[in-house]
């Protein structure tokens, strides 16, 4: 669930698809380290976790998703350590009978990971580094799910 190994979205999607031949719908989200043209000097992104709090929190969020939507399967993979532009930070997939459930669960889990999961994130530039906190947009995205509970 939390790993320092590289993540390969295509291989992970292949796995979820193969594991769920009974599902009509599979939604995936891949979050990658951006290669910003405007910000050519981003060298790396560093993600820290705090075990086992981080994994426990994600497991709880997956349970919440499973209780809110009718899901056949959920996969969450979040990488830690240092990542280069283009590499995958996070992969979430949900398999369901109907697509609305798969979309909602993936969207919900990404909002959880962006604002509530126990990670800390640092951008490393050529001569400096900066800790990154969620954007206001991330917090308001996450609030969308409160209404439903």
């Amino acid at each position: 669930m939390v790993t320092s190994d590289p993540l390969f979205p295509d291989a992970l999607l292949a796995q979820v698809t193969a594991d769920n031949p009974h599902s009509g719908a599979v939604v995936s989200f891949s979050g990658n380290v951006r290669m910003d043209k405007d910000d050519g000097n981003t060298c790396a992104l560093i993600l820290e976790a705090y075990h086992p709090v981080t994994s426990n929190g994600i497991a709880e969020a997956i349970n919440t998703a499973r209780s809110r939507w009718e899901l056949d399967d959920v996969m969450v993979r979040h990488r830690t350590g240092s990542m280069k532009p283009g590499e995958t930070i996070v992969f979430v997939a949900a398999a369901a009978k109907h697509r609305r459930d798969a979309f909602a669960a993936t969207d919900f889990l990404m909002d959880y990971l962006k604002t509530e999961a126990f990670f800390w994130k640092k951008e490393v530039y050529e001569n400096s580094e900066k800790w990154i906190e969620p954007r206001a947009q991330d917090y308001s995205d996450a609030k969308r799910w409160d209404k439903k509970s």
Binding site: G31, L47, E48, A49, Y50, P52, V53, N56, H78, I89, V90, M110, L113, K114, T115, E116, A117, F118, F119, W120, K121, K122, W131, I132, E133, P134, D138
Partner: protein, 80 residues
């Protein structure tokens, strides 16, 4: 001895993990914050956005702590 960890950007300001023998008067998170802020440059644990995890569970400021506990202070979280 209590173990005190500093997560995310706090590790820049507070340094690495500390093993602390808590004074008898230091019994909750608020008191530990004050104790560490007095030691550390710029009182980095003041903000209410800095929270604590005690033995793997997010804790309130009034939670009791002992010398058996592992306490981690952390700034706002967010991955992805």
């Amino acid at each position: 001895m209590a173990t005190v960890e500093f997560l995310g950007r706090l590790s820049d300001n507070c340094g690495p993990t500390q093993e602390i023998t808590l004074p008898a008067s230091l019994t909750n998170i608020t008191a530990l914050r004050d104790y560490l802020n007095a030691q550390l440059d710029g009182a980095p644990l003041t903000s209410a956005t800095i929270r604590a995890i005690v033995n793997g569970k997010v804790a309130t400021d009034t939670q009791t702590i002992t010398n058996e506990d592992t306490i981690a202070f952390f700034p706002p979280v967010g991955g992805g």
